[in-house]
């Protein structure tokens, strides 16, 4: 399978502080990847490396076959970047910014841009500086669509957007990506949005990749079980191949596992715990994310 992004043994330090440790990651063509991680887990560092604005301490990150920190202009032409905060040339007007970008991209599709801009009901000479964050997000998305890139890297696209603009953004993105078979690598703090749009999820833990798998597989294979027993506090440990995470709250014990219920019961028995009330509780992606990474 063709890989649009390939990171090999990626390691990065800020001074003495290790942020990424031997990260390996492959992103297949034509899929939407949602990258999730708690604050400080190296999500922004990974995105900055992918965008070519940070040189990793060691390891290699290939984007469309070239090292991300020295992409050729031709390869940059094939990558659409959405920077955190919907960065745009705010000293330009709606018309000027389109004029400017159109000259860099031979496959420029102005109709995508003007279609999105038309929804805003603003004049062509409206300065980007005077727009709300939501309006600016439409300008930035329109410019990326018009560029017609192979790969879209969207860094925290939901930041500063109200629910209406977030929904609009997602709707347009989904339609565009499905229709044109693009690869998308996105981050967002709104996990429900990622759940709505992504095919695959990448979850980052402390200095490492916790998992990368299709969202459907995660939802199908990752389970949450609950039972009550006041006497087993501390007996069940996480990361023992069966139990991914465990939470204790008074006599309520919550277990997270990639194994089915029968295997978990069997495992508990080996620990000397007999449970009759082990109940599987369905999870949203957000709950699964917390289950994997922990609440703290």
């Amino acid at each position: 399978m063709e890989h649009v992004i390939e990171c090999k043994n990626l390691t990065h330090y800020y001074g003495d502080n290790l942020v990424l440790n031997d990260l390996n990651l492959k992103v297949e063509k034509g899929r939407i990847f949602g990258i999730l991680g708690k604050n400080g887990m190296g999500k922004t560092t990974t995105i900055n490396i992918l965008m070519g604005f940070l040189r990793p301490t060691s390891g290699q990150c290939l984007v469309l076959g070239e090292e991300s920190h020295k992409l050729s202009p031709l390869t940059r032409q094939k990558i659409g970047l959405l920077h955190e905060g919907h960065l745009a040339y705010d000293f330009m007007t709606i018309k000027q910014v389109e004029n400017f970008y159109a000259r860099f991209f031979p496959e420029w599709k102005a109709e995508y841009y003007w279609d999105l801009i038309g929804k805003l009901g603003l004049k062509d000479n409206h300065k980007i500086r005077n727009m709300s964050c939501g309006q600016r997000s439409q300008v930035v998305l329109g410019l990326i669509f018009a560029q017609d890139p192979e790969l879209l890297i969207l860094d925290d696209y939901s930041m500063g957007l109200d629910p209406g603009y977030r929904a609009l953004f997602i709707d347009y993105l989904q339609e565009y990506v499905r229709e044109k078979n693009k690869t998308v690598f996105l981050t967002s703090h709104i996990i429900q949005d990622v759940e709505k749009v992504a095919d695959d999820t990448i979850i980052m833990g402390y200095q490492k990749l916790l998992l990368k798998m299709p969202l459907t597989t995660l939802k199908k294979d990752f389970h949450r079980f609950e039972f009550r027993n006041a006497n087993v506090r501390g007996v069940i440990k996480a990361d023992d191949n069966i139990i991914t995470n465990v939470e204790y709250y008074n006599d309520k014990i919550t277990l997270y596992s990639f194994k089915p219920k029968a295997d978990v019961i069997k495992h508990l028995k080996t620990l000397g715990i007999t449970v009759s009330d082990l109940t599987e509780i369905p999870m949203s992606l957000e709950e699964a994310f917390i289950g994997l990474t922990g609440k703290y």
Binding site: Y14, N48, M51, G52, F53, L54, R55, H69, P73, L74, R76, Q77, I79, L81, H83, G85, L87, A88, Y89, D90, F91, M92, Q96, N99, F100, Y101, R103, F104, F105
Partner: protein
């Protein structure tokens, strides 16, 4: 693509260019007025004593003296502060054009306007002074203004370099170096004080390349 870069820089600079053009004309008009005042009210002897003997002309064309340096600073601020605010320079560095072309064309375009102002001032002064004074005086005054123009050019390139640098500590270091280099050009109080102008010309000529170093540091993610 180059046209697009120039288009972007023009959008930022256009109002500043108009203001600077107006100030340039005004400063020449002030110089004409000042020369007329010396001639009409001070008389020939005083003119000889002060304008020629005491370099009074040089001391009184203060607008011409500081206009290029202020223009250089203003152009650099107008062009590059919006690019560095919120790390907007990332947008430019992701454009499908080589960084060298991107930066040198941006800096080159800004400098083109500064140079136009300098040339206009230089020939304007030549015209204005030569209407009243002999060639020897004109030459002395014009030669004495060259360091100011070099100082203006140095200010533009160094300010661009400092703004494009990603860290504050390096900015402060560069600013100290820039001050030392630029201040050298404004020390003279009498005619004929600069004998080795070519050294400063050489320094100014290599200054545009400094922006490449700032860009390299930005791309490495230096914090």
């Amino acid at each position: 693509m180059l046209k697009a870069i120039l288009y972007k820089e023009w959008i930022k600079l256009r109002w500043a260019v108009i203001v600077v053009a107006a100030l340039t004309v005004l400063s020449l008009a002030y110089t004409i007025g000042m020369i007329n005042y010396y001639v009409e009210f001070q008389g020939a002897f005083s003119n000889w004593m002060y304008v020629i003997g005491k370099s009074l002309l040089l001391k009184n064309i203060v607008f011409v003296k500081f206009l290029p340096i202020l223009t250089g600073l203003a152009f650099a601020l107008i062009q590059f502060v919006p690019e560095m605010t919120n790390k907007r320079m990332r947008l430019s560095y992701h454009l499908p054009i080589s960084e060298k072309k991107l930066l040198l064309s941006s800096v080159g375009f800004g400098y083109m306007f500064l140079l136009a102002e300098i040339i206009f001032l230089f020939f304007g002064l030549w015209l204005v002074i030569s209407m009243t004074y002999p060639t020897e005086v004109v030459t002395k005054v014009l030669m004495s203004t060259i360091p100011w123009f070099l100082g203006g050019s140095a200010m533009y390139f160094m300010a661009a370099f400092i703004i494009l640098e990603p860290t504050w500590i390096y900015r402060v270091i560069y600013a100290v170096v820039a001050y030392a280099l630029i201040e050298l050009n404004f020390r003279a109080t009498t005619y004929d004080q600069y004998q080795r102008l070519w050294i400063m010309v050489l320094i100014v000529a290599i200054m545009p390349l400094t922006v490449m170093f700032a860009s390299h540091r930005f791309r490495r993610g230096t914090k």
